[in-house]
Amino acid sequence: MKDMMSKKVELMVGFFVALGIAALLMLSLKVANSGISGNGDSYNLLAKFDNIGGLKVRSPIKVGGVVVGRVSDITLDNEDYTPVVTLKIYKEYSRFSEATSVSILTSGLLGEQYVGLQPGFIDDSLETLQPGDYIEDTKPALVLEELIGQFLFSQGSGDE
C-alpha cells in the first residue's frame, strides 16, 4: 500500500517536472525563436526583391486579402546580393500563371509587412508556375525614408 502511494507520488512529481521543463522549452523555442510548423500541403515559389523592408519569416502571403501561404525563408543571393524570398503557398492555390506579380505591402500605416500576390491572367500561351520557379515581376517594399528623400529632392528641383 505504501509502495503504491510513493509510486503514484513519484509519477505525479515526474509529470510535474516534465511539464515545467516542457513549458520552459516551449517558451524559449516557440515564443523567443522561430520554428516553422507546416500546416497542410504546400509548395514553394521564389521571388527576388531589391528590398524586402521589414518582411519576416512566417509573414503571410495574400491574394486580395486572403492568406494563401507564408514566407518560409529569406536569404541573400550569393551572386548578385539581392534578397531571395521563399514563398510557401498552400497546394489548393497551385494555378498561378507566369504573369503573376508579387509585391511587399504594409497592412495599415504602422502594421506588419506581408507579401501581396497579383495573379496574372491565364492564357494558353502562358504556363503556370511550377514549384521552385522564380516569380519575375516583383516590386520591392516601400521604404519611408527613401520616399521622403525623393519627395524632398523633387521639391528642390521644382523650384529652379
Binding site: V9, V13, V17, L24, L27, V31, N33, L109, G111
Partner: protein, 257 residues
C-alpha cells in the same frame, strides 16, 4: 516614553526574528545531503507543494492570458496595431505577470499550507519528539519543504506563462481574428531569450526563495497554540505577498530600466 520603549521592543524583536530566520535557513540547508534518505522526502514535498498547485496555476494562467488578449485587442485595434497583440501578451506574461502572479498564488496556496503544517507539528510537539529521537527536525522537516518550494515555483511560473500565451492565442487568434502567423512571428521577433525569459526565471527563483523561507520560518517559529498558528499563517501570506511585490519592483528596476 512608553512609545519609545515600544519602538525599541519592536526593533529588537525584528532583528532577533531576522537572526532566527537566518539560523533556521542555514542550519536546514548547510549539511551534506544524503540522497538515499533525502530524495523520497523531497519527492513527497514536491508532490504536495508543486503538483497540488498545478491546477490553480493552469486555470488562472489561462484566464489571465485570455483577459490580456481581450483588453489588449480593444486598445490596440484603435491604432490599427493589433499585430502587436502577440508580443504585448508574451512580454507582459514573461516579464511580470508570470513570475509575480504565480508567486502570489503560490504564497496563498502552498506557503500557507507549509506554515500551518509545520506550526501544527510544533504545537503537537512532533518536532520535539523528533529531537528526542536524535533526528534533526531542521534537516528532516524543514529542508525538503524548502527545496520543494524552491524548485516548484520557477516551473509553475513557466507553466503559467505558457498557458497564458495559449489562452491569449485562443482569444486573439481564434475568436477576435488576429492573424495567427503574425501573432507568433511578431512575438518571436520581439521576445529575447536572455532579456525576457531568463530574467523572468531569475525573478521567480528569487520569489521562490523568499516565499518558502518565510513560510518554513513562520511555521517553525510560531507560538504553539491554535491562535499562534493562525497568526503565523496569516503573516506568511501577507509578508511574502508584500515582499514579492516590493522585490519585483527592485528587480524590474535592475533588469529593465
Amino acid at each position: 516614553m512608553q512609545q519609545l520603549q515600544l519602538l525599541g521592543r519592536n526593533t529588537l524583536a525584528l532583528i532577533s526574528g531576522l537572526g532566527r530566520a537566518v539560523i533556521v535557513l542555514l542550519s536546514a540547508l548547510l549539511h551534506t545531503p544524503n540522497p538515499r534518505k533525502g530524495l523520497p522526502l523531497l519527492f513527497a514535498q514536491l508532490y504536495s507543494v508543486g503538483v497540488m498547485s498545478l491546477v490553480i496555476i493552469v486555470v488562472s494562467g489561462g484566464f489571465i492570458g485570455m483577459v490580456l488578449a481581450l483588453q489588449g485587442y480593444t486598445i490596440l485595434v484603435g491604432y490599427g496595431a493589433e499585430a502587436s497583440l502577440g508580443p504585448m501578451v508574451a512580454l507582459s506574461l514573461l516579464r511580470e505577470l508570470g513570475p509575480v502572479v504565480s508567486a502570489l498564488l503560490f504564497a496563498g496556496r502552498a506557503g500557507s499550507a507549509l506554515t500551518a503544517e509545520i506550526g501544527l507539528m510544533k504545537a503537537t510537539e512532533q518536532l520535539s519528539s523528533l529531537e528526542m529521537m536524535a533526528v534533526d527536525p531542521l534537516r528532516r522537516v524543514i529542508a525538503p519543504r524548502f527545496w520543494a518550494g524552491f524548485i516548484s515555483l520557477p516551473l509553475l511560473a513557466a507553466i503559467f506563462s505558457m498557458v497564458g500565451i495559449f489562452g491569449a492565442h485562443l482569444v486573439g487568434v481564434d475568436w477576435l481574428g488576429v492573424d495567427g502567423g503574425t501573432f507568433w512571428s511578431v512575438m518571436q521577433d520581439q521576445v529575447d531569450f536572455n532579456k525576457d525569459i531568463l530574467n523572468g526565471i531569475i525573478k521567480s527563483v528569487v520569489f521562490a526563495f523568499v516565499i518558502t523561507w518565510i513560510a518554513v520560518y513562520k511555521g517553525y517559529d510560531c507560538e504553539p497554540t491554535s491562535e499562534g498558528i493562525s497568526r503565523a499563517t496569516t503573516a506568511t501570506v501577507v509578508q511574502s505577498s508584500l515582499l514579492v511585490l516590493a522585490l519585483d519592483f527592485i528587480l524590474t528596476a535592475l533588469m529593465f530600466a
